[in-house]
């Protein structure tokens, strides 16, 4: 699915490089459910952003589905992740001005999918997540768990092969969190590759593999 080779990321602070990630080597196979763990500031989110092509590495090579991402231009990269990757955030990041329905529909609009097809796809996923009744509500009218459900639905609408989740249950109570993790497990069983960043051992256990990060390095 993807392969990171000698990936490093640093910022210059006062003329000296401060490393966020250092020489990361990692490969993830299709169908895996990987949990990345580590204390705050260990570089989990940055690693996830690099996998999701939202951020560039300072050094190293990144292959996504056999394509050398580090050599691609911005436009090609954006095209690549638009088609294959979905994101779920801790803070949901729904657009407040749009309804549930419109939020879910948005990625499809950016992929130039026809209106009739969009309708069918959104209706499908609303049904699957049991939130048909909420489709005309605005995000602020939903509970945290419901918002995250919408966030996941939005991430999955374009049928990505890879789902990247940054502490998806961080803002939720334990019962809501469990439901979300169950959902992830089910998705993984359906063939979606998942990489999640989490603080919780319990949530990490849902995955098939755990990677521990400390100070920008993978702990073996």
């Amino acid at each position: 699915m993807l392969e990171l080779k000698h990936i490093s990321k640093w910022y210059n602070v006062g003329g000296k490089p401060t490393f966020i990630l250092k020489d990361i080597n990692l490969s993830i196979q299709p169908g895996e459910f990987v949990s990345i763990m580590g204390p705050s500031g260990s570089g989990k989110s940055t690693l996830l952003h690099i996998m999701g092509m939202l951020d560039d590495a300072s050094e190293g090579e990144y292959y996504f589905m056999e394509q050398a991402v580090h050599t691609l231009k911005e436009k090609q990269r954006s095209h690549l992740y638009k088609q294959h990757i979905g994101f779920v955030f801790q803070a949901y990041h729904l657009i407040d001005e749009l309804t549930v329905y419109e939020n879910i529909e948005t990625p499809l609009i950016y992929q130039n999918i026809k209106s009739s097809e969009r309708k069918a796809l959104v209706a499908d996923i609303l049904d699957r997540f049991n939130i048909v009744g909420k489709k005309d509500l605005f995000p602020t009218q939903l509970s945290g768990g419901q918002q995250q459900l919408v966030g996941i639905a939005r991430a999955l609408i374009a049928k990505p092969q890879l789902l990247l989740a940054d502490e998806p249950t961080g803002n939720l109570n334990s019962k809501q969190g469990e439901e979300i993790m169950e959902l992830f497990k089910q998705l993984n069983d359906d063939g979606v590759t998942i990489v999640q960043v989490t603080h919780s051992e319990k949530n990490a256990a849902y995955g098939s593999r755990i990677i521990n990060l400390l100070d920008g390095r993978i702990e073996q």
Partner: protein, 806 residues
């Protein structure tokens, strides 16, 4: 408390530098424009009010129509003033001005100076108008012939002292004794005069009720209802005017005259209305126009409002930043009205800083504004006691105006919502804010359309086929000074190379002499067959020099001695004489001593040419062959005009030693007729640019804030796959919608007002659709450029930054 307010206000200004600069710049520009226009309007409204009896002084206007031509005169007949005073006890005093003899040549040493601001006046002048004397006694100053009253600066110019009483001035060859020196007539008087000569020296055919050549002012007794008094004029007409007309005309009373479609009407015009409301023939000078006062005032208010709108929009848009402060203050127990006061103090501080800058800008721009408005306003005008208090109050008024909506809005936040961070940000759509932006852009579009229409009409005037050729015609004034040598002078000039033809006539299709006369189609003069028309005396070379085109017959020629009893008419007159060929037909005038008709044979018809401004329809005109030598015009054909003018001057000096040489070019003279319109064009253009700049400043600020507020949304959208182009579109489209709505409001309003402005012109353009298209596209492009900088910046930002921590 107030100290705390001021401290917080100051810190906020410093902290949000960009917004403070946008706010202050916008407000300062608006205020500067407001101050300048206030000066202008106050000056315009002050005309003639320096006269102590201003509310009792009235001018008699005459409205005459005889045979189709409408005459609106600022003058009336010479016996009217004395007769009214004799017959009606309500009339306390009258005074008449005589200016028809034009400028005078006044001798200074052995030189002659052409003085344009001269008039003859009755000795009662000083009983009516307030013109205080420095030396001499104005009560008796003009009682005798050969007396003159001069102003202080004229006295200094000729005698190097203001005490010139008893000195002799020679004007047009006649010696006058200076009997009084008055203070300079205030600039805001509707008449200007450096010399006031005795009425007794006017060579005039006194006593005719039918010639209207004198400006006449009445001073009514206190308590007289002037509107009521005007009703006496009909009785006056029947008793005196009709009685005199009966001597040579078949008429019994005014009613009969009116039934034939004619008109003779006198009316009173209050002195203080003259400057702004009167545009008649024989005005004492160029008057102002109340419409321009309205337009200027409206523009000043609008520009100030646009600047205030910027302030409101930016303040409310930035509300989220202040929300925390509001919440904390409320939790600490601050009442709402105290918060309102705090925000008002902030806006007043802002507008106070802006006002100081505005006064500076106004002082700097005053010379430019003076040339724009054709005024001599001074900075000192700002210190006028009527303006100064207002100027001090202005920042407070503007501060409250601009600050009250933001103050009410900001102070209404609920503290709990704010502190829990649940408050929706200022980026939320605000109807009020959108309405304000629409107002700004509607105004800008309106001004742009106005500017385009004014300039189109001016261009139309420049390029319109006038029926004569105004290019490369050199006009020499005062040729009458040469007396019988005028023809010799013309021949001398014709010998110069580069001069192709020349004509001696003071009647030209640019401002020059005018002479109207009553003609008849029949050998008798009655109300039905009479027609009042321009009667010009020209020489045989007139048509060739001015490029007039003949449609029937021929022009005057030296080869036909009988041409002295012939006339050439224009098409308007021809249509009145009869249809088809009018050559050989006769028209009659009644200028002879015994009122017997004199027949004149029509030998030619010239194509209608615009001998008055394009504001007027082309009226009836006839030309006669004769020698009236007031001006000479030459068609020149040379690339080196300046050296030709020098040669002409040399000939002039040889033939008229000591007499000033005055010349002008016909196309210049023509353009000067439209100075007012050119001014309107410049004003509309200047303020359109100003309004657009201020509005864009506001839009830029708003866009900056919107982009800032929507950072998170933009980040999400980018992660979901939105392109840069898509984001820019997203951010710009809302503003463009507003501009489009503005257009919907502005276009019909502009169409209506500009249509009305064009009504002033008898010959005018149509407002075509492309004017609106240009204004609309321009507004959209300007808005787009303003907004897109921020939009592109926001769209290019890395979403990871904006989504990092929540």
């Amino acid at each position: 408390m107030i100290q705390n307010f001021l401290k917080v206000a100051w810190r906020n200004l410093i902290k949000n530098r960009t917004f403070s600069i946008i706010n202050i710049t916008g407000l300062a520009a608006g205020l500067a424009c407001f101050i300048l226009i206030a000066l202008y309007v106050i000056d315009e409204l002050s005309y003639d009010r320096f006269n102590e009896k201003a509310d009792r002084i009235f001018r008699i206007n005459a409205d005459i129509r005889f045979g189709g031509a409408d005459l609106k005169l600022a003058t009336t007949s010479d016996p009217m003033g004395p007769t009214l005073k004799k017959d009606y006890p309500q009339v306390e005093e009258f005074v008449r001005f005589y200016t028809a003899s034009g400028s005078k040549q006044v001798k200074k040493g052995d030189q002659y100076i052409v003085e344009a601001d001269v008039m003859h006046a009755d000795s009662t002048l000083f009983n009516v108008f307030t013109l205080p004397a420095l030396h001499g006694d104005t009560r008796t100053a003009l009682n005798e012939p050969n007396t003159v009253v001069i102003t202080a600066s004229t006295a200094k110019k000729y005698f190097a002292t203001t005490d010139a009483v008893g000195k002799i001035i020679e004007a047009d060859g006649t010696p006058y004794k200076v009997t009084a020196v008055i203070r300079d007539i205030p600039r805001n008087s509707h008449f200007k005069a450096d010399f006031i000569f005795s009425m007794d020296n006017v060579h005039y055919d006194w006593g005719s009720y039918l010639s209207h050549n004198l400006q006449t002012y009445l001073l009514l007794k206190p308590g007289t209802d002037w509107k009521e008094f005007q009703k006496n004029f009909r009785q006056f007409i029947d008793k005196y005017v009709v009685a005199q007309a009966r001597q040579f005309m078949d008429i019994s009373n005014l009613d009969e005259f009116e039934r034939a479609g004619n008109k003779l009407e006198y009316s009173l015009m209050p002195l203080t209305d003259i400057h702004l409301h009167s545009d008649r023939l024989s005005e004492m000078g160029v008057n102002g126009n109340i419409q321009y006062v309205y337009v200027f005032s409206a523009v000043a208010l609008i520009v100030l409002l646009i600047a205030c709108v910027n302030f409101m929009n930016l303040s409310t848009a930035r509300s989220a930043n202040r929300a925390r402060e509001v919440g904390i203050r409320k939790v600490l127990g601050t009442a709402r009205d105290s918060l309102i006061k705090q925000f008002l103090v902030e806006s007043i501080v802002t507008s106070f800083i802006a006002s100081i800058i505005a006064v500076g800008i106004a002082i700097l721009l005053l010379p430019y504004f003076n040339s724009l408005a054709n005024k001599d306003l001074t900075v000192g005008g700002l210190l006028d006691m009527r303006i100064l208090p207002f100027l001090v109050l202005l920042p407070v008024i503007v501060g409250v105006m601009a600050g009250s909506y933001p103050a009410l809005y900001l102070s209404s936040f609920k503290p709990i919502a704010v502190l829990k961070g649940k408050l929706s940000t200022g980026a939320k759509k605000s109807t009020v804010r959108n309405a304000l932006v629409v107002f700004q852009f509607a105004t800008c579009i309106f001004l742009v359309i106005g500017t385009i229409v004014v300039y189109n009409q001016l261009r139309y005037i420049q390029s319109k086929k006038l029926g004569f050729n105004k290019d490369q015609v050199l006009i020499i004034d005062d040729v009458g000074e040469l007396g019988n040598n005028a023809a010799a002078f013309k021949n001398e000039i014709l010998k110069l190379s580069g001069v192709s033809s020349g004509t001696l006539s003071p009647f030209l299709p640019v401002p020059s002499w005018r002479n109207d006369n009553t003609m008849s189609r029949e050998p008798v003069l009655d109300p039905k067959s009479g027609m009042n028309m321009q009667t010009w005396t020209v020489d045989a070379d007139y048509a060739q020099t001015l490029g007039l085109e003949l449609v029937q017959g021929r022009f005057f020629s030296k080869d036909f001695p009988t041409d002295s009893a012939a006339v050439v008419i224009n098409e308007t007159t021809a249509a009145w004489v009869g249809s088809g060929n009018v050559i050989g037909k006769k028209i009659y005038n009644f200028e002879s001593q015994d009122n017997t008709p004199i027949p004149l044979t029509i030998i030619g018809v010239v194509k209608n040419f615009h001998y008055e401004s394009l504001k007027q329809q082309i009226g009836p005109l006839m030309m006669r062959l004769g020698k009236v030598t007031g001006m000479a015009s030459f068609k020149v054909n040379t690339s080196n005009i300046q050296s030709l003018v020098k040669e002409v001057e040399k000939k002039w000096t040889a033939m008229a030693p000591g007499r000033p040489f005055r010349y002008r070019f016909m196309d210049e003279s023509f353009n000067n007729m439209y100075n007012n319109e050119q001014r309107v064009g410049k004003i509309a253009f200047t303020f359109a640019v100003l309004a657009i700049i201020i509005a864009c400043l506001g839009l830029f600020g708003l866009a900056t804030y919107m982009a800032e507020q929507r950072t998170k949304e933009i980040g999400i959208r980018k992660v979901l796959g939105a392109s840069v182009q898509g984001i820019v579109q997203l951010l710009s489209i809302d503003f463009l919608k507003l501009v489009a709505i503005s257009f919907v409001f502005a276009a019909p309003a502009a169409w209506y007002f500009m249509k009305r402005w064009l009504q002033d012109f008898a010959y005018r353009i149509n407002i075509s659709w492309w004017v609106f298209a240009v204004a609309g596209v321009l507004a959209i492009v300007i808005a787009l450029v303003t907004v897109s900088y921020q939009a592109i910046k926001a769209a290019l930002a890395n979403p990871v930054q904006s989504l990092r921590t929540e």
